[in-house]
């Protein structure tokens, strides 16, 4: 081990997690993301991708192993503390408060910041998402699918996280909107925020990612640079079973 290398932005060590005590879903995952990286987690339905990121975020019990954020052990810190340590999470479903207005969704996230910077942070994030800024008093439940994802991302960015984890932000969106969301994620990553992206939309995700890992049956089976994985027959085999590559598009 090098003595000068900075700790990874996010890491797990032999992580075992699941909803029931005797039923591990994530089974011993060692996973590392360097600061500034954009890593995509791929894998078939039910592989445990959501469970892995929810466990890191504190929503699913961790049975054994560890999770680290910039070297600090966050395995046991409660869910509401993780965001204070710089870990922001956008869940796969129900990732905004539909009964609150756009402004209230953002303000809620800003409530954990010192009072004097709250308005400033909300204004900064609104600059990034002019569509949302234009209708701040609208009920979030009335937004379209794409706007909801944008709001969820905007909400996560309020605290200036060091690591942003997103669980299938493209689910249910049209290809055009997926393109917009992913372009936005690429910009956010370029601005220095480490991103972990769970995706089924393999092609689009690999196009913006630096690196990909493949989760199958709760274990990391394969990993590599996004560019080479996109061509790798192992991806088609592991991820799609016997089906030919390309079928996942348009999901």
């Amino acid at each position: 081990m090098s003595t000068v290398a900075p700790p990874p932005a996010l890491a797990t060590q032999a992580l075992v997690a699941g909803y029931e005590r005797d039923l591990p879903i994530v089974r011993g995952v060692d996973f590392q993301v360097a600061a500034g990286e954009l890593v995509v987690i791929l894998g078939p339905n039910g592989a445990g991708k959501s469970t892995l990121v929810k466990a890191i975020a504190g929503l699913v019990p961790i049975h054994s192993g560890h999770a680290f954020l910039a070297g600090a052990d966050i395995t046991r810190s409660p869910v509401q503390e993780k965001v204070r340590h710089g870990l922001a999470f956008v869940p796969q479903t129900e990732n905004i408060f539909a009964t609150l207005s756009i402004q209230e969704n953002l303000q809620l996230a800003a409530d954990i910041l010192p009072r004097r910077v709250q308005a400033e942070r909300i204004a900064e994030v609104c600059d990034l998402f002019p569509d949302l800024a234009a209708r701040r008093s609208a009920r979030a439940g009335n937004l379209s699918g794409g706007q909801r994802q944008m709001l969820a991302v905007a909400r996560a960015l309020i605290v200036k996280p060091s690591v942003l984890i997103l669980d299938e932000p493209s689910a249910g969106l049209s290809p055009k909107i997926v393109g917009e969301v992913f372009a936005r994620l690429k910009d956010i990553n370029a601005a220095g925020i480490t991103i972990v992206l769970v995706e089924q939309n393999v092609k689009a995700a690999l196009a913006i990612a630096h690196r990909a890992v493949i989760l199958v049956e709760g274990e990391l089976r394969h990993e590599g640079p996004a560019a080479t994985l996109a061509e790798d027959p192992i991806v088609a085999q592991l991820y799609l079973g016997a089906a030919p590559a390309g079928q996942e598009e348009g999901r």
Binding site: L59, E94, F97, L100, A109, D111
Partner: protein
């Protein structure tokens, strides 16, 4: 119809509304119907009685009626302390009962049954300590003031109405304008996501208990002041409170007050038109009709 029905209905309705706010808040945020809420109401009323009497013993001057009202300064002072005590009782019940069930992720029906158990225990304890004989905050007689149009109300009744309206506005502003209110609405919609955003859900739950219990206490004091104190006073209000909370729309504070007034007026009208023995049926009929026709209530949002 005698116009006095309107006054009687509004005053009873304001009391229902106040109790129903507590029900609707705990229901929407803790996600179960707490049938022990009515015992918080009874406890609050008796706690205020005990404290007010104690203050009267310390200084008889505190018992002298304030202006046109039937009670002295001992009651408002005792009310503040009683609200705090009722809040502490709710936190204690949560710590020994509901909190443990939450940690075990018990189903809603288990929580509801537990609340029945807690209600029974609390009610029996109150009956044991204070006996089932009715008690009164004051023996002063009050003269009802003419309000015009053949309607009359005592100063106590008018005060109760004003306090109820004031508290509804205050709670509504708390929910819509403050950070803790925002957190409460967030937890009510999606507890897991609220945690992700940084809300301390356990703190929110404590605040909800304190707030709901304090409001129950005020409603109980009102019932005690306008009628009498009995160990079953809360239990008898259970049906109208839940009818009002559900008619108003679970989670809606203005809805709970509006629906409380509707239930109060409907009861008063029924007593006048059909007969007093039908009073208790009114809340039940309203409850059934809402559940059949508009389960989300008047101002509630449809279940997603």
């Amino acid at each position: 119809m005698n116009p006095q029905v309107l006054v009687d209905g509004l005053i009873a309705g304001a009391m229902y509304g106040l109790g129903a706010i507590g029900v609707t808040l705990t229901y929407s945020i803790l996600r179960f119907a707490n049938f022990a809420h009515s015992e918080l109401l009874t406890f609050g009323a008796y706690a205020a009685l005990a404290l007010s009497s104690a203050l009267g013993v310390l200084s008889a001057g505190l018992l002298a009626p304030i202006g046109p009202f039937s009670f002295g300064w001992s009651l408002p002072l005792a009310a503040i302390a009683a609200m705090a005590l009722t809040g502490l009782l709710a936190l204690a019940v949560d710590a020994v009962l509901f909190g443990r069930l939450r940690v075990r992720r018990s189903s809603i029906i288990v929580m509801v049954m537990a609340s029945f158990g807690a209600a029974l225990t609390l009610r029996s304890l109150l009956e044991f300590v204070f006996t089932s004989k009715p008690a009164y905050f004051t023996r002063e007689l009050q003269i009802a003031l003419p309000l015009g149009g053949g309607m009359r109300a005592t100063p106590d009744q008018l005060l109760a109405l004003a306090v109820a309206v004031l508290l509804v506005v205050a709670v509504h502003l708390l929910l819509t304008r403050t950070a803790i209110g925002r957190s409460m609405r967030a937890v009510s919609e999606n507890q897991a996501l609220a945690g992700v955003v940084g809300v301390d859900v356990r703190k929110v739950i404590r605040v909800v208990w304190l707030l709901g219990a304090a409001l129950a206490c005020v409603a109980g004091i009102m019932a005690g002041l306008l009628v009498q104190l009995r160990p079953y006073m809360g239990f008898d209000l259970l049906l109208p409170l839940f009818a009002a909370a559900i008619l108003g729309g679970i989670g809606s504070v203005p809805g709970a007050m509006l629906a409380g007034l509707i239930v109060g007026l409907a009861e008063a009208g029924t007593v006048q038109l059909i007969g007093a023995e039908w009073r208790t049926a009114v809340a039940f009929v309203i409850l059934v009709l809402v559940l059949l026709l508009r389960p989300q209530g008047l101002l509630g949002r449809p279940q997603a």
